[in-house]
Each structure stands twice: as C-alpha cells, then as structure tokens.
Symmetry: C2
Subunit: 145 residues, 2 copies
DNA sequence: ATAATAAAAGACAAAAACATCTTTAATTAA
DNA sequence: TTAATTAAAGATGTTTTTGTCTTTTATTAT
C-alpha cells in the first residue's frame, strides 16, 4: 500500500498532465482542491517532485506546475521512488531483514510473484496512461459528489 | 505492505506453531529473540492476539503461548485483520476515498486484480502452511547468521 | 506458604507519517 | 514601480506507529 504522500503525488501529477493538455498550469490550491488532498501538504509534495526534476514550476502570477514537454513519459515507480523509496517492491512479505530467493521466508515464493506484478504495473504505467483515462471519461481522480 | 506489527504477529505465530508440534509453549522472550523482533512490542502483539482468541496463553512457571489444538487452521488474513484491519485489501490504489468498480480511478482495473491476488494468498495461506515449510527446512523465520 | 517464573496491563517515550502556519522569493499585470 | 499572485522554504504541530519501562496478576515448583 502506498503512503498518502505517494498517493497525493500521483493524483496531483495526473491532474497536472490533464490540465497541461489544454495549455494550463494549475497551482497547488487548485490541484489540492480537485484531488481532495490537504493544500499545504500537497504543496510540499510537489516541491519535492520539482526538486527531483520530475516536474517543473514557475512562480508568480500565471505560474503553476507543468511537465517539460521534452520529457519522457513518467512511470509511477519513479514517483513512488522519489517520495518513499523502493521498499514496497523489495521488502520481505513478513519483514525479514532481507528478501532472498536462496534463503526464502515461508511465503516468499508466492508473495514475490505478486510483488513483482505490482512493480511491473508501476513500471509500465505512466502518468500519461492515467491522464488519458481521465480525459476519455473512463476514470476519475476524486469523489466530489 | 504489512505493518511491522502484522509482520511480527505472523512470524511469532509461525514460531509458536512450530514449537507446539514438539509440545512446547514458548514465551515472548524466546519468540522475540528467535524472530528478531523487539521483546516488549512482541509481547503486546501477542496479548492482542490472545484477547482476540486467535491464540492462547498461560501465565506462570512453565507458561507461554500456544494454539488451541481444537481450532481450525488460521489464515493470515485473520491475523492481519486483527492487527491492522482490512484496509490493505480494500483501499484504492491511489487513495480515492472509496474503491469502486462502477466509478474507478485510472489504475483500478489493473490494481484491483493484484490486490485481490494478495487477498487470496492471505486467505488461503495459514499459519500451519508456513510452519510446515519451516519444519521441512524449506524456509526460514529469521536471518540469524 | 514462599520463591521463582511468566503473561497482562498501564504508563511512557521515540520515530515516522501526516499536516499546517508563517515568512520569503520570484514573476507579472497594471 | 507597485500591487497582486504564486511557489519555495522553514518552523511547528498532530497523529499514528513503533517501541520501552514498570508494576500487577497468575501459576507452579519447592
Ligand atoms: S524472503 Fe520473505 S518475501 Fe522474500
Ligand atoms: S478505485 Fe482506485 S483502485 Fe479501485
């Protein structure tokens, strides 16, 4: 399960990607409102993503957040790694200090498969993949009403 | 990803099950040592499991923890639920306030499958399943040396 | 009975996650 | 150049999770 910070990050970025298609650069107030996340916490998370170069921003009137049009599609795993690291995809299912094929815990064989599938999903899914679903009306980013 | 408390709970119970086969009832000091978990925290977790009737205990000299021989095999999901609830298996993959097939988030279709596989694993896997692997030498519960 | 042993219980403490508040810096429209 | 706007930054606060310490209660061997 992702941390709330990772969840907010992904929802924010999808929202930004959707808005960017219309040439708009939303601010953190708008983003937080639309994805139902705490305003200042969202701002902090976006700050982190900007520092890590996954996202761009401009200050001042008319400013906001946006993706570099040059940049490659952004896989979710990169966002997750930027916010909370890779532990979700490497940690032993019952908490042994190291996950290992050679010296497995009793659930390793089954758990590692599922964990790898999740990692695969997070690697293959990009912000754009998700943004397209929003644009096509096939999915939502909030539960407003 | 499970909470540490759930991880310690599962490792503890597997250790207890293994010991019980030899007619032994380990105490929390021994358990904590053998599964590499903090002693008092382990004691608290075992207390919770005893209160919830997933485990039995006797105080005093010769006391310790053990399973009711009458009881049915204990699926991991029951332990997880006792310690941290079901949220791991019900929560939206990107944190929407409700996960829903009818009104999905953009990752729902792929994520829900993996989450269900994990739930299925936690439902079908019992403490005894895991204990057998330890007894057969096919898996380990710690990384001591 | 007494001493030893072991879990239960309650209070407390530290760390991490989650969140807010206030001030500063950058940008732009007027 | 000034006022308005917006992100960045830093300090602080809250909640949850994780972990420890101390005292109490139950059990048993002697
Ligand atoms: S060793 Fe436990 S999941 Fe790999
Ligand atoms: S709605 Fe997001 S995972 Fe189901």
């Amino acid at each position: 399960m992702l941390s709330k910070a990772s969840e907010y990050a992904i929802r924010s970025l999808v929202y930004i990607a959707v808005k960017n298609r219309d040439g708009l650069r939303p601010g953190y107030r708008e983003i937080a409102r639309e994805i139902e996340a705490p305003e200042q916490f969202t701002a902090k998370i976006l700050q982190t993503l900007v520092r890590q170069k996954l996202l761009m921003s401009v200050r001042g009137r008319g400013g906001g957040f946006f993706f570099d049009p040059q940049s490659k599609p952004l896989p979710l795993i990169e966002i997750i790694n930027a916010i909370e690291g890779y532990k979700l995809f490497t940690r032993c299912g019952i908490g042994l200090s190291k996950c290992s094929d050679e010296n497995p815990c009793p659930i390793h064989n089954q758990y590692a498969i599922i964990r790898n599938q999740y990692q695969d999903l997070a690697t293959k899914t990009t912000i754009n993949t998700l943004a397209k679903k929003i644009i096509d009306g096939d999915a939502v980013l909030n539960r407003l009403i």
